[in-house]
């Protein structure tokens, strides 16, 4: 572990130790609940990370073929999240900004200015049954914890950190809600207009298209059910359904099913020949959330990625990278590696590109009566190649407005497997967030 990282960890521990005893006496002042027409808040985050590199892995070779950064690399991430809102009558303006600053072996870097506004929209609520939102907003659909195959109008979430906020898209949407007595308790309809033009949502798909999406939510027989669809040409038409229900007070089951029409796939073989194919893809997810009497929570999910690659296809991709790397070592020719890189972005390089996965997370709330302390362990298992990631973490939120998380991720798998060919063997990170 780098000296810089050790010094930083020591500093954080000393700093937090002094913070813990600086708590003030409690008082209940009614001015605290006085509502203001505006709100400003957010958090400041520091996150030093240590990566242990796997110098034999294909993805290491693809990224580091022409440089040697040693066995480990350090990275220091900082984030400033600012949120503000202003309310007047039926209107509310909300803005969430995100400024990322990173120092790594590549030097200083910050996020693109257009990605700094995560959300920014105007909300109009003529009644409690009807609302309209215009602007950049995150519409996260689906009931899965680690994956959401039906999240058609949001950026993909990271199963290693599924609770991270996602950047939104510029849309116009409405919500109409109606409540009933009887087994059908709620119906709500969310139509969405999703423009994709130059400089507007242009990372979503084909530009110069006006897309339409919609979601119908039902609370029927104590079961949450959503039906959703999107069409319009930027991406192929897709439709889905999800559900969530408590079978007992401590056992919840959920699921999602997505149908994607004419999904394109680009497959590279071990010789570097690229073939493109179109087929209908069916993805689904089934999961449970179970809470024991001793406050242990289990989240278990199976995910079938209909648009994923088979084990053989993944193996061919890694073999081709290795061929490209060997060619580079032979005569400094990186043409094959460039070709491999061209099929990586948004294809083999997307989060969990294989077909079948299992996810398990076990978290224990407040063990040994340590309030606000939650240790957890998560694993993602690629069922096709039997490789896996294993992430233990310790979360402490016992100091007002401060959240500390220490997390490690170990990647296990043989050659030619998803997790075995990632550029890292392990990652250790400390995340400190101060909310204001």
């Amino acid at each position: 572990m780098g000296k810089g990282l050790l010094f930083f960890l020591a500093w954080v521990i000393i700093f937090l130790g002094s913070f813990a005893f600086a708590e003030e006496e409690y008082k209940f002042d009614l001015s605290e609940i006085e509502k203001k027409p505006y709100h400003l808040g957010g958090y400041l985050e520091l996150r030093p990370i240590l990566f242990g590199l796997d110098r034999n892995a294909s993805l290491y070779k693809l990224k580091f073929f022409n440089r040697d950064e040693g066995k480990t690399i350090e990275e220091y991430d900082g984030k400033l999240r600012l949120e503000g809102s202003l309310e007047k009558g039926i209107a509310r303006l909300f803005v969430k900004t995100n400024f990322d600053l990173q120092y790594s072996y590549l030097g200083w870097k910050h996020n693109e200015p257009k990605s700094m506004i995560y959300e920014g929209y105007l909300s109009l609520k003529p009644s409690s049954s009807l609302s309209f939102n215009f602007g950049k907003q995150t519409l996260l659909w689906g009931k899965g914890y680690a994956w959401n195959p039906v999240a058609f109008v949001s950026k993909p979430k990271d199963p290693d950190d599924p609770e991270l906020a996602l950047e939104g898209y510029i849309t116009a949407s409405a919500d109409y809600i109606k409540s009933f007595q009887g087994p059908l308790k709620t119906v709500s309809i969310t139509p969405v207009i999703f423009p994709v033009y130059k400089d507007i949502n242009d990372d979503f798909g084909t530009v110069n298209k006006l897309n339409f999406a919609g979601k119908l939510y039902l609370l029927l027989y104590d079961t949450d059910i959503d039906l959703m669809a999107v069409t319009g040409g930027s991406r192929t038409t897709r439709a889905g359904i999800d559900f969530s229900k408590n079978i007992t007070p401590n056992l919840e089951v959920h699921g999602e099913f997505a149908f994607i029409n004419n999904q394109k796939s680009r497959v590279i073989d071990s010789q570097g020949d690229i073939s493109e194919a179109k087929s209908d893809a069916k993805s689904y997810l089934l999961g449970i959330r179970y809470l024991t009497a001793s406050d242990t929570t289990f989240i278990f999910e199976y995910y079938r990625n209909g648009a994923g690659f088979s084990h053989l296809e993944m193996k061919d991709y890694f073999t081709f990278i290795d061929r490209g790397y060997n060619l580079f070592l032979l005569n400094r020719n990186n043409s094959l590696l460039k070709k491999a890189a061209s099929v990586t972005e948004g294809n083999y390089g997307r989060i969990n590109p294989s077909k079948d996965y299992l996810y398990l997370r076990i978290s224990q709330k407040e063990p040994f009566n340590i309030l606000y302390f939650t240790p957890a362990i998560s694993t993602i298992l690629n069922l096709n190649d039997r490789s896996l990631s294993l992430s233990p973490e310790l979360l402490y939120a016992g100091i007002k407005n401060l959240e500390i998380r220490l997390k490690a991720i170990g990647l296990l798998g043989g050659r030619g497997t998803e997790f075995g060919e990632k550029q890292n063997d392990y990652r250790v990170e400390l995340r400190v967030r101060y909310y204001f």
């Binding site: 708590e23 409690y26 209940f28 009614l30 605290e32 609940i33 509502k35 958090y43 309310e87 509310r92 609520k125 009644s127 409690s128 049954s129 609302s131 995150t138 996260l140 659909w141 009931k143 914890y145 599924p162 609770e163 991270l164 906020a165 996602l166 919500d175 809600i177 109606k178 409540s179 308790k185 709620t186 709500s188 969310t190 939510y217 609370l219 104590d222 969530s244 229900k245 408590n246 007070p249 401590n250 919840e252 959920h254 959330r289 809470l291 406050d295 709330k365 407040e366 009566n369 309030l371 606000y372 939120a397 016992g398 007002k400 407005n401 401060l402 959240e403 967030r433 909310y435 204001f436």
Partner: protein
Amino acid sequence: MKKILISLLVLSIAVPAYAIDGTQLLKQIDRNLNPESYEMYRKLINIEPNGRKMEYTFFSIKKGVDKIAGVFIAPASEKGRSTLRLGDNMWLYIPNVGKPIRITSLQSVIGGVFNNADILNLDYTAEYDAAGVEEKGNEYFLQLKAKTKMVAYDRLNLWADKNKKLPSKIECLTEAGMLIKTLYFKEVKDFGGRIVRPSIIETDSPLYKGYKSIMIFAKIKQRDFKDEVFTLTFMPNIESLR
């Protein structure tokens, strides 16, 4: 003759105890605690054995017997976190996560001795049947039994002031009679609008030795809401009702 006199004497002592209708009494306790539909502000404080405290400010709304929702307005780390309960269904919305997830009544959204069922509590009559009622000095002692398995505590022992018909202490028990926690109702206060009720609930638990949680009621007001605000879709907007 002597036997008849003794029987009459026994009956005259016993009849008042049997004359109390537990269900009616529980209904009265419910209405004395809160109007059927209301808005309220509470401060929840967790106190650790070393005296360290964490405070949360919570705004909640209720309608009828089975609809309750709320949102944390402080501290900054919890602000915007909202909860919804429709009968036995409970959800939590975390602004960062961006979508509601189902939770259970046994969990705690804030940590400490109070769990979700304590924070999003429905009327006692909605969840419990009066299995027995006795007079004990200046208090009624009610034994309550959960109507379904979905209720957080299988049994409650409730002590209520005879005159005010307000609870003074509630023991929360498992089906086997194991004590989970005790709630102490303190400092009766006039909140206006004919709402006179304890302004503090203290709780401790043998499962959290040395720890204590306190709920302080600041404002309680009768208010009517549309059913549509008690829905998943409305959860991100609960704070707009303040």
